[in-house]
C-alpha cells in the first residue's frame, strides 16, 4: 500500500474528551466515538504537520514492532477517522497558503 503523502488534520469542531479513563472523540455533528489507547494517541498526532509514515516509524521504534503490521493498523485507523468525518488531509502547499 502506498502511504498518503498528505498530512492528516483534525477537522474544526472536533474535540477529545476523557472521562473515567475512557477517551472519546466528538465529531462536529456531535457524534461520539470511543477510542482505544493507540487510536487516541494517533488522533492527537493528527495536527496537519505529522505524516502517517512518521507515526508508523515512531510506533515501531517505541514498541519494537513489525513495520508492515503497524503501517496497516495506522492507515486503517486514519481511514476510519476520515470515514467518520473527523479529519481531513492537507498537503504542504495548503499549509504554506494558510501560514503565508
Amino acid at each position: 500500500m502506498t502511504a498518503r503523502q498528505a498530512f492528516p488534520r483534525q477537522l474544526t469542531g472536533t474535540a477529545l474528551e476523557i472521562t473515567d479513563g475512557v477517551t472519546t472523540v466528538v465529531g462536529p455533528s456531535g457524534d461520539r466515538y470511543v477510542l482505544n489507547e493507540t487510536a487516541s494517541a494517533l488522533w492527537e498526532l493528527c495536527d496537519g504537520e505529522t505524516g502517517s509514515d512518521e507515526m508508523v516509524s515512531a510506533i515501531c521504534l517505541l514498541f519494537d514492532a513489525d513495520q508492515t503490521v503497524i503501517a496497516t493498523d495506522v492507515h486503517r485507523t486514519l481511514r476510519e477517522f476520515e470515514h467518520r468525518r473527523l479529519l481531513e488531509w492537507v498537503d504542504s502547499s495548503d499549509l504554506c497558503k494558510e501560514t503565508g
Binding site: 477517551t23 489507547e37 493507540t38 487516541s40 494517541a41 492527537e44 498526532l45 505529522t50 512518521e54 507515526m55 516509524s57 515512531a58 510506533i59 521504534l61 517505541l62 514498541f63 519494537d64
Partner: protein, 238 residues
C-alpha cells in the same frame, strides 16, 4: 528448590521485582501495594544507582522499577548501566508527570516502559505485568507526547544528516578533526595542507552545517553522535 530466571517462586510463577527509589517509605509502600494485588514479588530494594546496578546483577529480577530521580545521577543512568550488564531484567522507569524529553532519554537508555508517580499503584502493577509479558508499557496519556517527541527527534536527525551530506569528503575529514580537538594549525599538519587551506575548509564546514562557530559545530557533532568512534579523551583534549 531452583527457580526460573526472573521468577522468585517457580511454583507460583510470581515474577520478581527490584524497587529502586531513594526513600525507604516509598519503597515499602510500593512493596505493600504490589504484593497485595499482583503476581509480583519484591525480591530486593535499592536506594541509589550503585545499589540498583549491584542488586540487579546479583538478583536478576524479571523487572526493576527505577525512579527517574534515583541518586546520585538519576534513574536513566542507572538504566543504561543495567542494560550494559546484558541480563534479561526489564527496566520500568518511574517519573513525575510526562516530560517527553525524559521519556526519550529513557528510551535511548534501553528502558522498556514508563509509569508516573501520579498513576498510582495500579499503573505500576500494569507496567510491571506488561513488561513481564514481554511488552513495552507507556501510560495512555504519555503515548502521544512520546510519539511526537520521537517524530521531532527523527526530523532533527534527518535535518542534521542533510547538512552533513553537503560536506565534501575533505570537509568531513576536517570536521572530524575539529570535533576530536584539533585547531586550524594541527588540522593543516594532520592533512598535510596549508593553514590557509585548512581555514577555508573550516569556513565551508561551518557554512554548510549552518552553524556560527567551531564550538557550535563540535556541539552539533557530539549531540548527534556524528563520530561515534571518537574517544572522549580526544574530544576534550586541550
Amino acid at each position: 528448590m531452583s527457580t526460573a530466571p526472573g521468577f522468585a517462586d517457580a511454583g507460583t510463577r510470581r515474577a520478581s521485582l527490584l524497587i529502586a527509589h531513594e526513600h525507604t517509605l516509598f519503597r515499602a509502600a510500593v512493596r505493600a501495594g504490589l504484593e497485595d494485588d499482583s503476581n509480583l514479588v519484591v525480591v530486593g530494594q535499592a536506594g541509589s544507582g550503585g545499589q540498583a546496578i549491584a542488586e540487579a546483577d546479583r538478583l536478576r529480577p524479571a523487572v526493576i522499577l527505577i525512579d527517574s530521580e534515583l541518586p546520585p545521577t538519576g534513574g536513566i543512568e542507572a538504566c543504561t548501566a543495567i542494560k550494559e550488564l546484558e541480563i534479561p531484567t526489564r527496566v520500568l522507569i518511574m517519573c513525575q508527570g510526562g516530560d517527553h524529553r525524559l521519556l526519550l532519554e529513557g528510551l535511548e537508555a534501553g528502558a522498556d516502559g514508563y509509569v508516573r508517580h501520579e498513576g498510582g499503584i495500579r499503573e505500576v502493577i500494569a507496567g510491571c505485568e506488561a513488561l513481564v509479558r514481554g511488552e513495552a508499557f507507556v501510560p495512555p496519556r504519555l503515548l502521544a507526547p512520546l510519539l511526537k517527541g520521537l517524530i521531532v527527534r527523527r526530523r532533527e536527525e534527518d535535518a542534521v544528516s542533510q547538512r552533513v551530506d553537503r560536506l565534501s569528503r575533505r570537509e568531513k575529514e576536517v570536521f572530524e578533526l575539529l570535533v576530536s580537538g584539533h585547531d586550524q594549525q594541527s588540522i593543516a599538519k594532520e592533512l598535510v595542507i596549508s593553514p590557509a587551506t585548512a581555514r577555508t575548509h573550516l569556513q565551508n564546514v561551518l557554512r554548510k552545517l549552518d552553524v556560527h562557530s567551531r564550538l557550535e559545530a563540535t556541539a552539533l557533532a557530539l549531540h548527534h553522535d556524528l563520530f561515534p568512534t571518537l574517544a572522549p579523551r580526544g574530544v576534550f583534549r586541550a
